[in-house]
């Protein structure tokens, strides 16, 4: 899922300080699952915005609403149900949601409540870890399913750097060296020999270095 966390309150309050009717808009997708921008978090944020503005001597109505997702046009159209009830939207969706509102709602002020951080998952309650960087050319079939792009600090493709120490990455001993993990796992799978094949220089244009990416599925367009 896309993982995100709330921005500092001072930053959010500064964004909305001149608005009088604010809609804090939750997303019931990924950000609900990672407890950053679902209905519960939107209610909390609305309350905090009211308190923050009040403390600064400002008056504003702050309401909440939610959409199934904020990354599809048909759901964004649902914003019409609050027509006339807001002069700014604070979206608690990931950056995709905020962009979608900006793309599709000419004239609507929209602000991000979250910092969108990474694609990850939660194996223990309350802890999320990055797993994939959306590089556009997946190599997990070569690495036993563990990602060297997102989970190696240097995104190395041909084994660890010289800083790998006792299974930890050189950037921080709390960070596992994913290349150690890959090596160990390939051993468990009896595939370690495959790791001696050098990976060629990579074309990063599909990984975002070639400009914004777009995907068209002819079989789905009508």
């Amino acid at each position: 899922m896309i993982v995100a966390e709330r921005k500092p309150l001072a930053e959010i309050i500064d964004m909305v300080k001149d608005h009088k009717k604010i809609l804090v808009l939750a997303c019931r997708g990924c950000v609900t699952v990672c407890s950053a921008g679902g209905e519960r978090e939107a209610d909390i944020l609305a309350s905090l915005i009211r308190l923050g503005l009040k403390k600064e001597g400002k008056q504003a109505e702050v309401a909440t609403g939610s959409l199934v997702r904020q990354c599809d046009k048909e759901y964004i159209d649902g914003i019409d149900q609050w027509k006339g009830q807001y002069d700014a939207i604070v979206s608690t969706a990931c950056g995709v949601g905020v962009n979608f509102i900006a793309n599709l709602r000419d004239g609507d002020h929209v602000y991000p409540a979250l910092n969108t951080t990474f694609f990850g998952g939660s194996a223990e309650q309350g802890v999320w870890r990055e797993q994939c960087a959306g590089c556009g050319n997946c190599v997990l079939h070569l690495t036993g399913g563990l990602c060297p792009v997102a989970r190696c600090a240097k995104s190395l493709f041909n084994g660890p750097c010289g800083g790998s120490v006792k299974g930890s990455c050189e950037i921080n001993s709390d960070v596992p060296c994913v290349w150690q993990n890959i090596y160990d796992r390939m051993g468990t799978l009896d595939r370690q020999k495959e790791l001696s094949v050098s990976q060629p220089i990579r074309d990063w244009s599909v990984g975002g270095h070639g400009g914004p990416r777009k995907q068209v599925r002819d079989d789905l367009t009508v």
């Binding site: 500092p8 309150l9 001072a10 519960r40 209610d43 909390i44 309350s47 905090l48 009211r50 308190l51 923050g52 009040k54 403390k55």
Partner: protein, 135 residues
């Protein structure tokens, strides 16, 4: 300054049960401050962050939660959850440049013990010292 704070207490059934059987006189007899309003909940683990924030929105100068001892909550983890939520509100208050001590979590033995009354006095003193809500 002559200031009597508006303090809201959220307490679980198990720690403040007996107070519900008492009228104001009974509570005062126990030396429980008159300016603290008691909100009894089934378990402190049921208290949402929004409920605590709403108390501030409604004008509370201070808010506190009294639940079971940390590791022996009647509902196993209720008072631990409450403590986490109180902590979340504390850091949110700090973010808003408001004294975090305006909210506090207490863990006291079940039943009406002196710790329950002491918590009330401590909170009353803290909030009186901090003064009226900045909201």
């Amino acid at each position: 300054m002559n200031f009597t704070p508006d303090i809201r207490l959220f307490s679980c059934h198990y720690t403040c049960q007996q107070t519900s059987a008492m009228d104001d006189n009974g509570l005062q007899h126990l030396d429980f401050p008159k300016n603290i309003s008691i909100n009894r909940v089934v378990c402190t683990g049921k208290i949402e962050i929004t409920t605590l924030l709403q108390a501030f929105e409604d004008g509370a100068d201070g808010v506190y939660v009294v639940g079971c001892p940390m590791n022996t909550c009647h509902n196993v983890k209720g008072s631990q959850r409450a403590a986490k939520r109180v902590e979340t509100v504390r850091s949110a208050l700090s973010e808003l440049a408001v004294e975090p001590d305006r909210i506090k979590m207490y863990h006291t033995p079940r039943g009406l013990h002196h710790e329950f009354i002491e918590a009330a006095h401590e909170m009353n003193d803290t909030i009186t010292e901090l003064g009226p809500t900045p909201f």
